[in-house]
């Protein structure tokens, strides 16, 4: 099990520090580990940032990486989880030609069936947004490709874990 490559989501709680992104990304770069996606945001705790990083690695390897991440002075705590242990989503946006919306009936069906949201419509283009799993977004991409996509963008994964992460208690113990 330790030697099978699988997808892991790394969640890192950190101080809000300018250089930290550089410090964390260097850990991956130095070991030639491809980062599938990376997202930073605030967390549930005021003043604490949260990194969500997705990588494909063996468990033996991810353990060491998380150890190196946690070693950084401004990292409060780092965790890794398998897909089964998290609830995760990605988000994406499509910019498409407006005439498609009116002329291609199938487009409207795709939008309805996939629960894709229309963000804006104007004379030249319309913008769709969809949050979901990677395969749903890939399917949409495939479906719209046939009509020509003006622009496409997908976010990094964001994830919450099923189990509790005891950051608040850790910080409370410090204060």
């Amino acid at each position: 099990m330790e030697e099978t490559v699988q997808t892991f989501t790394i969640s890192i709680y950190t101080e809000n520090n300018i250089g930290l992104l550089n410090r964390i990304s260097a850990i991956f770069q130095r070991r030639h580990i491809n980062v599938e996606s990376l997202n930073t945001s605030i967390s549930e705790i005021e003043g604490v940032s949260r990194f969500t990083i997705v990588v494909n690695l063996t468990e033996a390897r991810i353990k060491k990486i998380v150890g190196q991440i946690e070693k950084q002075v401004e990292v409060i705590k780092a965790y890794y989880h398998t897909d089964d242990e998290t609830i995760y989503q990605e988000s994406c946006m499509f910019k498409l030609r407006s005439d498609l919306l009116f002329e291609e009936r199938e487009i409207q069906n795709i939008i309805k069936d996939s629960n894709t949201r229309i963000v804006t419509v104007n004379k030249e283009f319309f913008v769709l947004e969809k949050s979901g799993r990677r395969h749903e977004i890939d399917q949409l991409y495939h479906d719209f490709s046939a009509y020509g996509i003006m622009q496409f963008v997908r976010s990094g994964r964001i994830a919450v874990t099923k189990e509790e992460m005891k950051i608040s208690q850790m910080l409370a113990a410090f204060n």
């Binding site: 250089g19 410090r23 150890g67 946690e70 002075v73 401004e74 409060i76």
Partner: protein, 577 residues
């Protein structure tokens, strides 16, 4: 840029005093107990140097001849004293010249604080004169680094820097201070840093793990200890000695662990690793319990991991959780500071001796003595060996000298043969293997421990990498003893070329200058010897000299260092010739 200090009324309150950022830097250093720092001035750090001038009766700034020298001197200072070494440089090239020393301190866990000047904050990112992104550059080689753009951030940041540099597993910290922050005035107040909420420097010792470790050690038939620098950094020398003696365990050391237990201790069985001793390398693959204390299973220690101590249960005492299972899978990990972990372990250990097992070490040592050591220390051939020079230094210092070695053959010889009675006496660049380390590091070491004899052992290659620091030795009158073992080769590379590249000596032969004349040019007493009958007297003269002394010893050109574990081979495949 505006170089005018904004004048203000010095309205000192009871707790604060209104001063400039640059004066604050000096006051912070004084508050941290810094007595000496090493550096080199330049445009972006000039306000701080102006304050150093004013405070020169309280803090001694040593002008090195190159910023790399300043970084290594700070390292030498830290390594011999256990205190934080401080280096200072200007922006741009000044800062980048520190990098090798910082990287060295990072991999060898040396507490160093580097302060660099930076262009004014409004110029950041504009490719200003001598602007470089030193925070970006130094990120992968620092334990922590930060840029200060406001004077008000100086006290808390410097306090945090010292705390981080010296706590837990120590390491280098870099603080980059923009020039406007140096000029800016603010209400200064200093408080030492006691903690950082995201940083837990020392994991608590898990007493359950200690008990499990004790059980394993007590049941062992062939236990072996390998200790590293964690013992020295954790001030656990006495605890280690007590553990070794009570449990009767043959104990070996890594290059950075040298001197934590005296060389002459009966259970000290020598150095492990690529050029370590024969017995501990071979028997690593025969012990039943391997007890690693404050070491990190570096590749130069383990050789091929696939064949390293596979038969043994491994107990790892370690302060840094990231080191557990990093290279060698452990059976029992005891996290924590070496001192507290070993203190907890000691009462749980049963009194033992492992005489029969210890005899195996002695037997293999006898083989190594016959095939290697005897020829190194008491050669019968004409040319001088590096080993006999070390032997003379041992004889004449009685093992009380601190040995600062550079990198290469002479370093391996120094670490193998130097006698150490006192801890923190083996100062060398272990992890990074930085040629040019020893001369400046010896300056720092001697200044931190003026009562000690500090002998730098350097090859003719490494000597020329920071030879300019002879100028620092002269100007500061630092009474270090410098021994250059001159074989007119980059000896270690040449040895590899001989063994693995069919003697194709690509760019390893050196046509050297007259080192003695150079040393004399710096008004340093100097001598060259090339004959055995001159050696003892020359070493005696050096050791007796009150001031700095330079001794060049012309040694055999093509001697090799053995034992040797070729790269990728197993520790048990250690070669004697």
């Amino acid at each position: 840029m505006n170089t005018e200090t904004i004048k203000s009324n010095k309205k000192a309150t009871a707790e604060t005093v209104r001063i400039s950022g640059s004066e604050a830097i000096i006051k912070c250093l004084l508050a941290e107990g810094v007595e000496v720092l090493y550096g080199y001035p330049g445009g972006a750090i000039m306000p701080v140097y102006d304050e150093l001038f004013k405070y020169q009766d309280q803090i001694h700034h040593v002008l090195t001849r190159h910023e790399q020298g300043a970084a290594h001197a700070a390292q030498g200072y830290a390594r011999i004293s256990g205190k934080v070494g401080v280096a200072m440089a200007t922006s741009g090239p000044g800062a980048t010249n520190l990098i090798t020393g910082i990287a060295d301190a990072q991999i060898d866990s040396t507490p160093v604080v580097c302060i660099t000047g930076q262009v004014a904050s409004h110029l950041l990112g504009s490719d200003a004169f001598q602007e470089t992104d030193i925070v970006g550059i130094s990120t992968p080689v620092t334990k922590w680094n930060v840029q200060i753009t406001k004077a008000a951030d100086i006290p808390a940041t410097i306090a945090k820097a010292f705390y981080i540099a010296k706590s837990g597993r120590p390491g280098p910290v870099l603080i980059d201070v923009t020039k406007d922050a140096q000029f800016e005035e603010f209400d200064f107040k200093y408080e030492k840093c006691q903690s950082v909420r995201s940083y837990k420097p020392v994991p608590e010792t898990d007493l359950k793990a200690v008990a499990e470790a004790a059980q394993l050690i007590n049941a062992a038939k062939k236990p072996m200890i390998v200790w590293g620098q964690g013992v020295i950094l954790g001030k656990a020398e006495a605890e280690l000695k007590a553990v070794i003696e009570k449990a009767g365990i043959p104990s070996a050391w890594t290059i950075l662990g040298a001197s934590a237990v005296p060389t002459s201790h009966p259970l000290n069985v020598g150095m492990v690793g690529m050029h370590g001793n024969y017995a501990p390398n071979i028997l690593t693959n025969e012990c039943d319990v391997l007890i690693a204390i404050g070491m990190r299973f570096d590749d130069r220690v383990t050789g091929n991991l696939a064949t390293y101590a596979k038969q043994a249960k491994v107990v790892h005492f370690e302060i840094d959780p990231a080191e557990i299972d990093k290279n060698v899978k452990t059976d029992i990990a005891v996290l924590g500071n070496a001192k507290s972990s070993l203190t907890a372990l000691l009462p749980l250990l049963e009194d033992r001796n492992h005489d029969k097992w210890h005899q195996e070490f002695k037997d293999l040592h006898a083989v190594e003595f016959e095939k290697v050591i005897k020829k190194d220390l008491h050669p019968e051939k004409e040319g001088l060996t590096m080993g006999e020079v070390l032997n003379q230094i041992n004889v004449q210092s009685g093992g009380d000298a601190a040995i600062v070695s550079d990198v290469g053959q002479h370093q391996m010889i120094a670490c193998r043969y130097a006698q150490f009675n006192i801890t923190k006496s083996n100062i060398t660049s272990g992890g990074l293997g930085t040629m040019g380390f020893a001369l400046p590091a010896a300056i720092g070491a001697k200044m931190a421990a003026p009562e000690r004899d500090v002998v730098a052992i350097i090859g003719d290659g490494g000597f020329q990498m920071n030879i300019q620091e002879l100028g620092t030795i002269f100007q500061q009158q630092v009474p270090v003893k410098i021994v250059v073992l001159n074989n007119e080769f980059l000896g270690m590379v040449r040895q590899w070329q001989q063994l693995f590249f069919d003697k194709r000596y690509a760019s390893t032969e050196m046509t050297n200058p007259d080192f003695v004349t150079i040393a004399k040019g710096y008004h340093i007493e100097a001598k060259r010897v090339s004959k055995r009958e001159e050696l003892a007297d020359a070493v005696a003269e050096m050791m007796a000299c009150k001031g700095a002394y330079f001794l060049e010893v012309c040694v055999e050109k093509e001697d090799n260092v053995f034992p040797m574990i070729p790269t990728g081979a197993s520790v048990s495949d250690v070669r004697l010739s």
